[in-house]
Amino acid sequence: CVLVWCFSQVKGAVDDDVAEADIISTVEFNHSGELLATGDKGGRVVIFQQEQENKTQSHSRGEYNVYSTFQSHEPEFDYLKSLEIEEKINKIRWLPQKNAAQFLLSTNDKTIKLWKISERDKRPEGYNLKEEDGRYRDPTTVTTLRVPVFRPMDLMVEASPRRIFANAHTYHINSISINSDYETYLSADDLRINLWHLEITDRSFNIVDIKPANMEELTEVITAAEFHPNSCSTFVYSSSKGTIRLCDMRASALCDRHSKLFEEPEDPSNRSFFSEIISSISDVKFSHSGRYMMTRDYLSVKIWDLNMENRPVETYQVLGENHFECCWNGSDSIVMTGSYNNFFRMFDRNSKRDITLEASRENNKPRTVLKPRKVCASGKRKKDEISVDSLDFNKKILHTAWHPKENIIAVATTNNLYIFQDKMN
């Protein structure tokens, strides 16, 4: 059944006057779920860390507290085109942890950066030639020698850029995805997809190019791309025409010919002026198992079986526009997507039940159970329902993330990050 959800935390400024730089533009849990990263329009990354579970407080999981904040991207100016390049973080993707440090990729419209986030909780003390404050000692005053030792210090979390992958995209980067080989990753813009090696910054391989020879003929752009979670040669990309193409890099160097094309035939009776626009896919995500993928378009969330190209296996109607993201829970049984009025929706694939919830500061006592919301047709409003006319279309939940293992979700309104968890016991 669809779980019962409780408020856990909210991060961000309380006031309604939102600074543009604080608008959250991406949310992503790391592979263990211990870390939660957000990117904003000002080019900053804020990482939250889950507290170790308090054994006495068995009825709630650890809280997320700020772990590290750093400026990932700065605004740049492209002198050749007289264009400013926004510092807004479009996507963050975590690498799986290999050693004590954490690594993530963050990208704006043009440049991808690999960041290393490491902890420092010791520092060397007892240098012979330096004072503790760093000033050099007069060598003539040194009469004895000692071996410097490490002493504990307050935890310091440092973020340093280890790789900068630049100058490979003419158009705006909309997706990055790390391959299951953990050595390569792809970056996609409106017309091209490039393959990178994490160690090599001066070179990337173009694997998809849909730019027509004559730009007059451009009718379709790439909207999202993702590597398959298990198969390191397989990736998908979605388009503004509502198609998803699955490509196999073993087939050829340039994957312009898809291995599979997923497209639902259009119902001719539904054709309208807006057909072109509403079929555009805003997000595509593989299930954790790799058997299914989910797409988000204007009016629906669709689940596709990779073995069936001609139509989705499940379709869930949802209000939205073309930049809402969607995500899976850890067991691939529930999918979630954001909507207007700070609502977000979950669909249980097994029971076919769904729930609409709201991210609002009104419910912000910890462990407050969220009341399901109902949106009704205009003019037929019952008590406690919200008429579709009174939805606030300015309050959008574009970015949502689900903890990979537990029922903890992070939901971003314009400038606040809400964390909810399921009601335990």
Partner: protein
């Protein structure tokens, strides 16, 4: 889920789309839901379509003017424009519009907003003016490559495509023409400024955010923009659309009313 929610979804879908049934009405077939609405819907379909076309063309122009066009948005608008034009070509309405105009004039008339017409005064002086004819002057090299003389012979269907190619080529070429745009731009941007470039709802409802209410959306299109719809309607009224010739303001109100009926039904 509640059937209610399913119901309102259907209602929203219905209200969002200009139904195929309206086209059937136009062709004179029988199955009309709600006869009054059906009959009245005949002119409104063309009005809506025309309004949408005008607005899309303006937006395409704006995309070009913006410092950094959003390619996805531009492509979606351009596809919508193309779709409408193809439909109008099939309907025969496109030919009729062309027949009324001659050569270059047809290009100018495609973009029939107050602002753009106002800037026709600038057409004499500078090359940085938002009209198809002069656009193409700016990009002579592109035109030479295209091999088409948009000033005289290009069909009006061609023009948006050239505009698109110019616009997209712009993304790769240095931006030169900003200065003289500013005056007309400021006014356009007041109403049509795209605050969140990625939101498709802004395509058709800048100030008004209730995209899913077709009624409000179309009202928004007609009142919030400075498009000078009256001008455009008089210019483009198709012969089949006799209602609009008389008093366009009341027709817009009719359109509102019709849409409201549809929304409620």
């Amino acid at each position: 889920m509640g059937e209610e929610e399913g119901l309102h979804q259907t209602q929203l879908l219905d209200t969002m789309f200009v139904r195929g049934l309206k086209r059937k009405c136009f062709d004179g077939e029988e199955d009309i839901e709600g006869t009054l609405a059906g009959i009245k819907a005949v002119p409104s379909y063309n009005l809506q379509r025309q309004s949408l076309l005008d607005m899309s063309l303006v937006k395409l122009q704006l995309c070009h003017m913006l410092v950094e066009p959003n390619l996805c948005r531009s492509v979606l608008i351009a596809n919508t424009v193309r779709q409408i034009q193809e439909e109008m070509t099939q309907d025969g309405t496109w030919q009729m519009i062309n027949a009324q105009n001659t050569g270059q004039a047809s290009l100018d008339r495609l973009v029939s907003t107050d602002i753009l017409c106002r800037s026709s005064g600038d057409q004499a002086e500078g090359k940085h003016v938002p009209a198809y004819g002069t656009f193409n002057k700016d990009f002579e090299s592109d035109q030479a490559q295209d091999g088409s003389e948009t000033m005289s012979t290009a069909s009006s269907v061609q023009a948006p495509r050239n505009l698109q190619s110019n616009m997209w080529e712009e993304m790769e070429n240095p931006q030169e023409n900003k200065g003289n745009f500013q005056k007309s731009l400021d006014q356009i941007f007041e109403t049509l400024e795209n605050k969140s470039p990625n939101s498709v709802e802004d395509l058709f409802s800048e100030v008004d955010n209730s995209y899913y209410d077709l009624d409000t959306m179309l009202t928004g299109m007609m009142t919030n923009t400075k498009m000078g719809h009256c001008d455009s309607l008089e210019t483009f009224s198709s012969p089949t659309n006799t209602a609009s010739n008389s008093n366009c303001k009341s027709d817009l109100n009719d359109l509102d009313h019709i849409v409201e009926i549809l929304v409620e039904s």
